[in-house]
Symmetry: C2
Subunit: 345 residues, 2 copies
DNA sequence: CTGTTAGCGCATTCAA
DNA sequence: TTGAATGCGCTAACAG
């Protein structure tokens, strides 16, 4: 509870000017060794640590990244945030965190203003994009004084985006089921207005060889909202309209949990009667019965990549206006377990 | 990418002093209505927003709370962080986030220094306490210039603690199993060096009426490490050493998932042959087969309570030294599902 | 009601 | 190798 010690206190005790202390603290070369060690000792004794706020004011940068996060109860979100924190720490940046739990566009401005007025050097925006909303963040970004990296969104011109290749993941999942002898591979999608959900749907559709809005595709599609309950309901719907469905690509693992439940109630054995591949590779996936094959997002690369991009922009501000920046794609990985591999056949 | 507009820019255009602009921005009363509206318009046109860094420097406070978080992949951790963010936002505080993913005491000082040099007004410390480590944070806290609230730790004199009543939760869980006719209620604990795990163990022991380190207690105890795999292994061990075990209180839901798996392999039907109560009430709990009875931590109150405490301390700094602050206990709640209730008996 | 002065804590620039 | 002056953007305290 002591009063905070400033650079002047150290200077006074050391009998030098504040500038000399500053030089020592910042490891500048031009200080006599004797002076340096003497000051270092005093710094330690007094437990002096520089006021970063003051330093930021003069340097015009805070070494802080603003992060706009989304629902940490989603596995993808919290692993991404964890990766962001880790990478930022390594690169010497602190994180100013704001969470948004519902995708209400009216919150964009206050959140942005709050972070910007706190002088963050850059921003990472992790909110999923809903197709039926304006893509405001993309427009706002352009005339902001700091770089913004968008995560898991469609890249519009001028955006800096780090993105999971959802489409590829869905294709791999679907292909895997087909290769394991399943003939009628359905899909349980996420909310239809989520861009990521649509990408996964498109990947499935392409791999199945269905044309856009074909009748076949429709018969093998049911929509969920990411929750286990919706996954359960979706399987009932799917089996009802296409009783010969023998496999399903479920757009996230939470819904797959619901699918397991529905399969149990319908008397469908996994993987013999119904093959399942999920998406996310949540920790529980390996512990379902049978263990769930799933697509791992490699969130670590997503979060780390976003930090890397934003830091690069912070350090080379001119680049951003000069050249278009290609989106960094992160490739998901198929983790094969028992829910998608039958011995017979 | 424009240069940032300062209070002086606004003042110049408005033809007033910076001070008057400051008054308008901060809603001070003594400004003529005409001047106020005129300045407000200019503020809007220029998209001026005050530099909070500068304001912080002069006011000696940042309206920022430092949060030291732990593994967001744990359900409890991420719900607590979510609650902290929400409450802090409501009270006008931003969050500077640091995550620690392994409980290595050497990290305490750097993390603390980083946050303190960034002039946070207060700290929330959510790392679990391991009994075999020094309780350093508790000592450090005392002579810090800002208040620190500790979450889910044993309260030592001088600490400000918000804590889940783990012991009570374990008692309620155990009592519930006994009341449902189970006779031999075992426990699968968390890591033995975690204080919270021990509290849950003690709650179970008390409710079972066992004395400390009694032979009976030992025969009904197996240790896990919070992971599903360890839960699975622990059930095998428990059944092996006490084959008549007919129910088990599992110290978290992740391990309970492993217990389900083990029960399946052992041919034990839940809840008929084996009653189960978990702890955490993760979202998947209701979707296991059968749905898992569990203890809800009410993380929302834990996180919110911590923010409330720290903000109170920030606003009344003198109080902290004058009076001992009693820990705030959050009572967990039993959520009854099918895994612990048999129809027969 | 409004402006002036001063200074938060520090680092940059220049001079010594 | 060191120190003095200056100012980052803002607001508290005072004066008018």
């Amino acid at each position: 509870m002591e009063k905070k010690v400033t650079i002047k206190d150290v200077a006074k005790i050391a009998g030098v000017s504040a500038q000399t202390v500053s030089r020592v603290v910042n490891n500048h070369p031009d200080v006599a060794d004797e002076t340096r060690t003497r000051i270092q000792k005093i710094v330690k004794d007094l437990e002096y640590s520089p006021n970063i706020i003051a330093r930021s004011l003069i340097q015009g940068k805070t070494n802080t990244i603003g992060v706009v996060g989304f629902r940490l109860d989603y596995f993808g979100s919290n692993t991404i945030l964890t990766a962001i924190e880790r990478k930022a720490g390594k690169l010497g940046f602190s994180l100013l965190l704001t969470l948004i739990n519902d995708l209400d566009e009216s919150k964009i401005d206050p959140v942005l203003n709050q972070l910007l007025s706190r002088q963050v050097d850059g921003l990472i925006w992790t909110l999923p994009w809903l197709k039926d909303t304006q893509n405001r963040i993309s427009e706002i970004t352009k005339n902001l004084s700091v770089p913004v990296v968008l995560l898991n969104r469609k890249a519009f011109p001028g955006d800096i985006v780090v993105c999971l290749d959802n489409r590829h993941g869905a294709r791999v999942a679907t292909k895997h089921l087909l290769e394991n002898g399943y003939k009628h591979v359905g899909i349980i999608t996420g909310p239809t207005n989520w861009w990521e959900a649509e990408e996964r749907y498109e990947g499935w559709r392409e791999e199945m060889g269905f044309s856009i809005s074909s009748r076949q595709a429709e018969m093998l599609t049911a929509h969920g909202d990411w929750t286990p309950q919706s996954g359960e309901d979706a399987l009932y719907e799917l089996i009802k309209k296409s009783p010969d469905t023998d496999a399903v690509f479920v757009s996230n693992d939470q819904m797959a949990i619901g699918v397991y439940r529905a399969a149990g109630k319908l008397g469908l054995r996994i993987p013999d009667d119904l093959g399942i591949v999920g998406f996310d590779n949540i920790p529980e996936a390996g512990f379902l019965s049978p263990p769930l094959t799933s697509i791992d997002q490699h969130s670590r690369y997503l979060g780390g990549g976003a930090v890397q991009q934003v830091v690069e922009q912070i350090k080379n501000p001119q680049k951003r206006n000069d050249e278009e920046i290609a989106p960094s794609w992160v490739k998901p990985e198929l983790i094969i377990r028992e829910s998608s591999t039958r011995n017979n056949d």
